[in-house]
Amino acid sequence: MSNESIRRSTLLSLACAGALTSALAAVPAKAADKIYHIALSNSYIGNQWRVQMVNLTKAYARKYYDGQVTLTVVNSGTDVQAQIAAIDDMISQKVDAILVDPASESALNPVLEEAAKQGIVVVDFDHAVTAPSAYKVGVDFVKFGGIMGQWMADTLKGKGDIIMNRGVPGFEGDRAEYQGATDAFKKYPGIHIVAEVYGKWDDSVSQAEIMKVLPAHPSIDGIINQAGDYGVVQAFLNTHRTFVPMTGEGSNGWRLSMLKYKDQGLEGISVGDPPTLGAYALKVAVDVLNKNPPPEKLINVGIPTLTTAQLKEGVNVFSNLPPTVYDDIDIPGSGLKPLTIEDSLGK
């Protein structure tokens, strides 16, 4: 492994040096011809989805916009103020377009409006900001939660006690998914939410939180996981409880578990949120710059939803990849040129 890691890090530093020089070289060229300078403002980089998102966006620029686009990526962490500052820097640099995966769905509105006012194309993705001039690419999280809720109600035949494993408190995404699920339950008075835990979209936090509440609920019929699904499977394994129907996100670990434990009674559904959204946002930005904008500013992408029977090794689940990886790469109907799971891993 050490050889492998040395090779990787050498490659990486070479790639990095290459990126630096090419970026420097690109600046004078920009004046000569229409190389678009596009900046990606990411917030937190410390999770798998964001890493794959950044990789896919870079891969798309490299594969399909070679010589047309210079892409700069900046990660400003969970601090909203730092992301605002980063976007201000992009405005100051007069980039052609800004792609933004926001740390907050609302706090960036003024700075994004400012960017638009200065003639910069703004494409927001992942979490929808409310700034009117921004293009928005992403899944509708209310619908996302609704799919989970509806599936649970159908699976339980409209009757049962369930646990809600929610996200990070105070975030719009958590509120929206929760609302979607509970709206779906309104038609089913037999469904009761007996406990709400906050797994913070994190596997090990979800695992511990579920282990804490399970003993208090000896007979539970289902669990809605916004994410953290793989951790919840571990919680059931650790406590030797029989599986109940549960929902999950598009992570490889969850999909592998759906297959592995289906004979032990694990019924599940995987509702995906493709990390390809960044690449999609890039495409939208270039289209707008090329005077070929999409008809609507709000682009709701389809939500890949898979039952256990629909999982196919090598297509939407990969036994040779780590459990943390998000498997959904294609966004049907996006018109994106092909990207692979390897692209998302920076290979």
């Binding site: 492994m1 980089i45 994190d202 596997d203 003993p215 459990p323």
Partner: protein, 322 residues
């Protein structure tokens, strides 16, 4: 100064009373819990909650040692994550590379701790900034090493230690108790332990008595990094994998556990027994709050109030009059 000196003279009392009071509060929480859910006080549930506290408790060993010197370690988050990702990267889930993986994980943690110690002792950098900076550095190094995608999984033996049972008792609880005994013995019955307290109590006095303060500080931070590494490895077993950001949840609770256990944030006072019950108390508290069906806002409020109440309780015994 007079004030701190007076505190110091009576320092033995909070060290004993704090853990006792927190233990009492934990029992109270169990009573509340058993009203909310039948079987909450069942031995199997108590043991499971102990098991769920173990990783926090082990991370808090390092925090205890560092706080005893009057410092703080905010780099636990990415030290834990780095150790875990290196561990799974090397072992790839195989038993064959287990020991290399363990050594690498512990080594990475210890090295980060050593760097913290050197910066703090030799360059006089404030522990807050040094360890906050180190946290970012470790995040960067981890991302570079893993290319953002941690690989591998936990070998079965580590999974067994983290989640298995030995008869009626979770193995991780035995590991934690064993570590607690060793750590307590080191703190209270060895020269090194005495040096730690001495440096924390008064660096000047400790220097005058011939203690190499710098060495003690460097050692303390290295131990803290080592413990973060150990936590990372054990936590890999719990999660059965490694992932980015997995250590974030330990930082503030580890500090809270240490201080709840009666340690002074200014150094020189505290015990690992205190931290042990502090970590357990926090886990039981969050469990009770997870069972109560109230909104998350009110859960946070109650969490804060209960901590205040618990500390006030032992303050009531140890109040010093001016």
């Amino acid at each position: 100064m007079t004030n701190t000196r007076r505190m110091r003279n009576s320092f033995a009392r909070p060290v004993v009373l704090a853990p006792l009071t927190i233990t009492g509060c934990t029992v109270l929480l169990f009573l509340v819990g058993s009203i909310l859910a039948r079987g909450f006080m069942a031995p199997s549930n108590v043991l499971m909650l102990l098991a769920l506290s173990a990783d926090l408790g082990i991370a808090a060993i390092g925090e205890t040692v560092v706080i005893l010197t009057g410092g703080i370690d905010l780099s636990i988050a990415w030290n834990v994550t780095a150790a875990s990702i290196i561990f799974t990267g090397i072992t790839q889930g195989n038993e064959g590379h287990l020991w290399i993986g363990v050594a690498a994980g512990l080594g990475v943690g210890a090295l980060a701790g050593l760097a913290n110690g050197l910066g703090i002792a030799k360059l006089n950098i404030s522990p807050i900034v040094m360890t906050l900076g180190m946290n970012n550095i470790m995040q960067g190094l981890t991302l570079i090493y893993s290319q953002g995608t941690p690989s591998g999984s936990a070998p079965a033996s580590i999974k067994e230690i983290a989640t298995g049972w030995l008869g009626p008792i979770p193995i991780i609880v035995l590991v934690w108790i064993g570590l607690a005994i060793v750590v307590s013995a080191c703190l209270h019955a060895t020269r090194g332990g005495r040096y730690l307290y001495s440096v924390g109590e008064s660096p000047m006095v400790s220097r005058l008595t011939g203690i190499d303060n710098d060495f003690v500080l460097i050692a303390a931070y290295t131990v803290s990094g080592f413990c973060a590494g150990l936590t990372g490895i054990l936590f890999t077993g719990f999660s059965s994998m490694s992932f980015l950001g997995m250590g974030d949840q330990f930082v503030l609770p580890a500090i809270a556990a240490v201080v709840l256990g009666g340690a002074s944030i200014y150094g020189g006072r505290g015990s690992y027994a205190g931290t042990f019950v502090g970590a357990f108390f926090l886990t039981v508290l969050t469990t009770v709050l997870a069972i109560v069906n109230i909104s998350i806002g009110f859960r946070n409020i109650i969490y804060g109030l209960v901590i205040i109440a618990a500390v006030l309780l032992y303050r009531a015994y140890t109040r010093e009059r001016e």
